[in-house]
């Protein structure tokens, strides 16, 4: 139950005084409460847990992290077998 998964905001509406969104999780669609991320906008991604958006997923740092990973792979290729690289 503690698993939190990224989802994409499709629609936002006010329901009984509460800010709610329809969020798409790769095909599965659920209602999600936005009270903890009131400025989340349609099209943005967020980490969702038990029906609540808890943190916005930052596209820029996601891409940066992936770039770093890619760089690691490239550097290793340049050095050849990392086990043989002298430290």
């Amino acid at each position: 139950m503690c698993l939190a998964v990224p989802g994409r905001v499709m629609e936002i509406e006010e329901r009984d005084g509460t800010r709610m969104a329809v969020v798409d999780f790769g095909g599965v669609v659920k209602d999600v409460c936005l009270e903890y991320l009131p400025d989340l906008a349609v099209g943005e991604y967020a980490i969702v847990h038990v029906g609540f958006a808890l943190q916005r997923l930052d596209e820029e740092s996601a891409l940066k992290t992936l770039e770093l990973f890619a760089e690691l792979g490239l550097l290793q290729e340049e050095f050849g077998d990392p086990l043989e690289v002298e430290r």
Binding site: M1, T18, L54
Partner: protein
């Protein structure tokens, strides 16, 4: 799906593994705190891909697993009462209490309902004004803000037939307890990413300094885990012990301020007993004085129930990283997900369940790219 599939890329995983291999000069023992991370690790065989000598010790971060037997028994008692609708996350239904579980209570006529969100429980209370609706509010810092919101909304809307059986736990005191144990072998921590999405990272520098352990905030996809390991090992090899964030796409240093403000209003810190481990000082939350009237323990007067753990289940050792699940004598024979002796075999985040699902009879690890979405 964006941000999910990308972080399972086998090519990139190889690069990370190579980098870890190149950095390691001696054995290190790291603990992944969160049960969700344990599942990623066992499912993809990440522990077996890592260079020899890098051991991953599975931590106590499964909320279902550490909810004390005493609270389960209180839940069973309340759920059995006529007029009560007892709402819970699905994982809790098969967790054994003394002699039975919530599933059994339902079979015996109790109105036990599974909800996805605590707001669903509140909705049930609004729709059933003549019934007492009780929500089982368990979980770590990630789950506490949603539960706090249900409590806050109940107060705001004046819903009087709603209450919560609260058993929240906090990660930093658990890290403190692990490090203070005389048997502790842990040299570095992969901290639970989504806990930090809410709480930020402020609580960790003092812990890292006091125990001289690196604490690296880590996500849940295979590449996130590898990056957490890579950064922790790099610190260990350099003799450093600082807090680092390997999951910046979902964790800011300040966490989620709105959620933290709600937590501070609805809950207060308390000592909490962890199933199989015992009392950890200041490791939990209970409802604050202002919201005490929404506390199911008070409303149903079950404060007096106390119980003792069964001896045959060794989940306490599993949760403290002292024993691997498959080293327990009951694992896979007497104890299976259908007939669990301990909560660690029930929960989708429990270490025993992870081993049962992915590492029984030499079942092969899932290839990195085959993770289902969501």
């Amino acid at each position: 799906m964006r941000y999910l599939a990308e972080f399972q890329n086998p090519e990139l995983a190889r690069g990370l593994l190579d980098d870890i291999r190149a950095a390691v000069t001696r054995p290190w023992a790291l603990m992944e705190v969160c049960g969700g991370q344990t599942h990623t690790i066992i499912r993809h065989g990440i522990d077996q891909l890592l260079p020899e000598g890098i051991e991953l010790i599975h931590g106590p971060g499964c909320p279902v697993c550490v909810t004390p037997l005493e609270i389960i028994d209180k839940a069973l008692e309340i759920a059995s009462r006529p007029g009560v609708i007892f709402c819970s996350f699905g994982d809790m239904l098969r967790v054994p209490g003394t002699g039975r579980d919530l599933f059994r209570v339902r079979g015996e006529g109790g109105d036990v309902r599974v909800v996805y969100s605590p707001l669903d429980a509140l909705r049930i209370a609004i729709d059933n004004p003549d019934r007492e609706v009780v929500f089982f509010g368990i979980g770590f810092e990630t789950t506490a803000p949603p539960n706090a919101m249900a409590v806050h909304q109940a107060r705001k809307l004046g819903i009087r037939n709603f209450s919560v059986l609260v058993s929240h736990v906090r990660v930093p005191p658990a890290i403190e307890a692990v490090m203070s144990s005389p048997d502790c072998r842990v040299q570095g921590f992969l901290a639970a990413g989504h806990v930090c999405s809410v709480m930020g990272t402020e609580e960790y520098p003092a812990l890292a300094a006091r125990h001289r352990v690196p604490i690296v905030v880590t996500g849940f996809e295979p590449l996130d885990i590898l990056e957490g390991v890579r950064r922790t090992v790099r610190q260990l090899e350099r003799g450093e012990h600082t807090v680092d964030n390997a999951y910046p796409r979902a964790v800011r240093p300040e966490g989620n301020p709105a959620a933290r403000a709600m937590l501070a209003d609805v809950f207060e810190v308390t000592d909490r007993s962890w199933r199989g481990i015992g009392v950890i000082p200041l490791s939990g939350w209970r409802l604050s004085e202002r919201y005490r009237d929404l506390d199911a323990e008070h409303r149903f007067e079950v404060g007096g129930i106390t119980t003792r753990e069964p001896a045959e289940c060794r989940s306490g050792e599993v949760l403290q990283g002292l024993l691997k699940p498959n080293e327990c004598g009951a694992f896979g024979t007497v104890c299976t997900p259908r007939t669990p002796l301990g909560a660690t075999m029930v929960s989708s985040e429990g270490a025993c369940a992870a081993y049962y699902l992915y590492r029984r009879l030499g079942s092969p690890a899932a290839p990195l790219e085959a993770n289902p979405v969501g």
